[in-house]
């Protein structure tokens, strides 16, 4: 139901052509198995302007809105869930640069990320999960003109490759985001092994031991804004994640639809069975819903009018749709659906991981309820 403008259709076309040309299935299967970030495709994507789409043009970005970034995310993930998500992760955290950091920091990193010279990432999870935490164990202490950081962050996307990490710390009682270059002494990346999905943008734990960075690395220049800044990052990423989910769902749907139109059982095409048809209809409905939420929210965001609750709803809905559509795609493909070479099992794993990343279902519901009812108080 979402209608694209002419220029948006062009972005979509360019993204589709890139994906068709560069996303080689055999190579992807290997990379996914070995948990490799798609180095070569990333460089090319950056060259063509698919990385840093929303960065200001003055820092070699695309100067586009989030809506356009969502088109690219959907298109890439539709062609391949693992590759698409990985490429879209290349500039994770930069949202916060672009919006809150001072000129020097921007100049230092935004262009490098946009050019595909380095990856950025954000490190903010300490407990199980649950997005931003209210009790931050990682500390940042002033020492002369430096910050000294100590702590342990979990599930940091691309931590093994990223040149810069945006790290959530407690400076005394003030939450702050601090930029840490990965080559700083005391930064140690710890492998956490394979995950269910998302393996082309692998996560690691990161330990910070007396890591020293200059004062200027404090994002925004004054303490106390860290959680607000992080929320802005997460909000923007959640909309992108919703668009990725739409793409993943459509990719699985494409494959399932092609299969049921061609496969015969009991002398009929699978697509002639009412139950298959209803499954396809259910999938189509879920995809419509996911798309409507993702793009509608992106459009509001670009107008400056998307609030966190709407964003959480969009992400929940789209990622749930993707999981269900991919799951049904596996079922429709039967034994073939379970085989790695048919993609849909990987799409499912990526969809399920997408659903959990950036906030679980329960934490989203807590957030939505908080917005509707007001905060939870135990005893009135």
């Amino acid at each position: 139901m979402i209608e694209f403008s002419r220029s948006q259709k062009e972005i979509q076309k360019a993204a589709r052509e890139f994906a068709v040309g560069e996303f080689d299935r055999e190579a992807i299967l290997e990379m996914e198995k070995r948990r490799e970030f798609p180095e070569a495709q990333w460089k090319k994507a950056a060259e063509l302007g698919f990385i840093g789409i929303t960065f200001p043009e003055s820092f070699e970005g695309g100067g586009s809105g989030l809506f356009d970034a969502c088109i690219v995310a959907e298109t890439f993930c539709r062609k391949d869930s693992s590759m698409g998500s990985a490429l879209m992760s290349a500039d994770f955290g930069c949202e916060c640069f672009a919006r809150f950091a001072n000129g020097d920091l921007k100049a230092g990193y935004l262009s490098a990320v946009a050019r595909g010279e380095t990856l950025s990432t954000a490190a903010y999870i300490e407990t199980l999960q649950d997005g931003p935490v209210s009790t931050i164990q990682t500390t940042a202490v002033r020492d002369g003109n430096d910050w000294v950081i100590n702590g342990y962050k979990r599930y940091v996307v691309n931590a093994d490759k990223a040149g810069c990490l945006i790290v959530l710390c407690a400076a005394g009682s003030e939450p702050v985001l601090i930029l840490i270059d990965s080559e700083r002494e005391g930064v140690e990346v710890r492998d956490v092994g394979k995950r269910l999905g998302g393996n082309m943008a692998p996560v690691s734990d990161v330990e910070f031991r007396n890591v020293r960075v200059p004062d200027a690395n404090l994002i925004g220049g004054e303490p106390g804004l860290g959680l607000r800044q992080l929320k802005a990052v997460i909000d923007e990423r959640r909309i992108r994640a919703a668009a990725e989910a739409v793409g993943i769902a459509r990719g699985a749907f494409d494959r399932a639809l092609a299969y049921v139109k061609q496969r015969e059982q009991f002398g009929r095409k699978l697509s002639a069975f009412q139950i298959t048809r209803h499954k396809i209809a259910d999938m189509a409905v879920k995809i419509e819903s996911a798309r409507l939420f993702a793009y509608h929210t992106a459009a509001l965001f670009d107008k400056g009018r998307a609030d966190s609750t709407q964003i959480a709803i969009a992400k929940m809905t789209a990622s749930k749709a993707a999981v269900e559509v991919c799951d049904e795609a596996i079922q429709l493909l039967g034994g073939y659906g379970y085989m790695t070479e048919q993609d849909v099992e990987r799409f499912f794993r990526d969809a399920k991981t997408n659903q959990i990343t950036l906030g679980t279902v329960h934490s989203h519901k807590d957030d939505v309820a908080g917005a509707v009812i007001g905060p939870k108080r135990r005893r009135p």
């Binding site: 407990t127 649950d130 079922q331 085989m339 519901k365």
Partner: protein
């Protein structure tokens, strides 16, 4: 009341099996998963200790036990978190064909090895173009003097690489009525013209050697046919009840393990100092999952007793197969949501269990086929 009527022998068997698995299987589960194969030796160990084919009569080396042993094996093996060591497939699905339909000579030749683990078995029904639809079978078995010549290919065959013996379904092109044209043949590994394809990469069951099998003018003596010529369809039908029930046992046991593990994890994991299990929404999720599992288990146990009694419960076993194999999928998805990023790590068993569970609603007749069968036998 205890629905399952265990004897002291059953209890002792379970205790011995528990010890065996804890010593010989569980410690190696991760290794076998990453090697994408279980060692042949573990089959022998299991066999020598008396854990394979407990229903084979004592005169052929078995225990002469009832189907309740299948339940015990299924339950205890689920604690190992490894699906690749497919003892239930061997013991309760494949070998029973030889037990029930084999000639005395066939039984003497094969059963002792099946019990001892020296013979690993496979059954080959599914073909690239014929999944649930037996009438679409293309593999032929044509008489040539005292021999049968088999041509065709089979796919998604569990134990396909390790197997020493495969029961092959093949059709006689001279017989028009498909239901009377299928015969089952025992083909030994190493028979000229019988080639095993490469292991297939799949979503889960990584330690299981699923593969294609090729028959190219494969000549076997007619005495390797099970039962009468053209009796294959009826033999398959007769054995499907137990096959479906065995899937249901596996489904319930898998769901139980997944839910238990998650429950214990929720006790340990804290968010901001509060164990996850103290969240009401987490409690409700765990209660709802536990209730579904208890309800499913009770149904499955009743069917086990009905099956032991020899009742015809085709509608109920079709229902149980779909209900009890949807169960671990649904539950694993929900558990992943509870555990968040932590749950997606392959280093804990939930991610693997999710991948392993996914095939259950596909194998042994997709759950859609189960519903078709139930509808048919309910007179719709």
């Amino acid at each position: 009341m205890n629905i399952i009527q265990y004897t002291e022998d059953h209890h002792r068997f379970r205790e011995r099996l528990k010890v065996f698995l804890a010593r010989e299987v569980t410690p190696y589960a991760d290794q076998w998963e990453s090697e994408r194969m279980v060692p042949r030796e573990i089959w022998r160990k299991m066999g020598r200790e008396g854990f394979l084919c407990p229903s084979v009569p004592q005169e052929y080396g078995g225990l002469g036990g009832d189907y309740r042993y299948a339940l015990i094996v299924s339950e205890e093996m689920s604690h190992t978190w490894i699906t690749g060591l497919a003892a239930p497939l061997h013991s309760d699905i494949i070998v029973p064909y030889i037990q029930s339909f084999g000639s005395e000579a066939q039984k003497r030749k094969y059963l002792p090895g099946c019990v001892s683990g020296d013979i690993v078995t496979a059954v080959a029904m599914t073909e690239p173009d014929a999944g649930s639809d037996l009438a679409g079978m293309k593999t032929t078995g044509v008489a040539d003097g005292d021999d049968i010549i088999i041509n065709g290919s089979k796919t998604f065959i569990s134990n396909g690489v390790l197997c020493d013996l495969v029961i092959v379904a093949a059709t006689d092109p001279a017989v028009e009525n498909k239901h009377q044209s299928i015969s089952l043949y025992i083909v030994d590994a190493g028979t000229p013209g019988f080639d095993k394809g490469k292991k297939l990469d799949k979503m889960g069951w990584h330690s299981q050697d699923t593969s294609e099998l090729f028959f190219n003018n494969c000549r076997i003596p007619a005495s390797n046919r099970l039962g009468q010529p053209g009796g294959g369809f009826l033999m398959l039908m007769e054995k499907l009840q137990q096959e479906r029930l065995t899937c249901a046992l596996g489904g319930v046991a898998a769901a139980e393990r997944i839910c238990e593990y998650t429950l214990e994890s929720c006790r340990k994991i804290e968010i901001n100092g509060k164990p996850l299990i103290k969240q009401q929404a987490v409690q409700f999720a765990l209660v709802e999952m536990s209730a579904d599992i208890k309800v499913g288990r009770t149904f499955m146990e009743k069917l086990v007793e009905d099956h032991v009694e020899g009742l015809n419960i085709i509608v109920e076993t079709s229902m149980a197969k779909y209900w009890a194999t949807d169960l671990p999928n649904r539950i694993a998805d929900r558990c992943l949501e509870l555990l968040g990023d932590y749950g997606t790590l392959e280093s804990n068993p939930i991610a693997r269990a999710r991948r392993d569970a996914r095939v259950m609603s596909i194998f042994a007749g997709t759950n859609e086929i189960m519903k078709n069968i139930a509808a048919k036998f309910m007179g719709m």
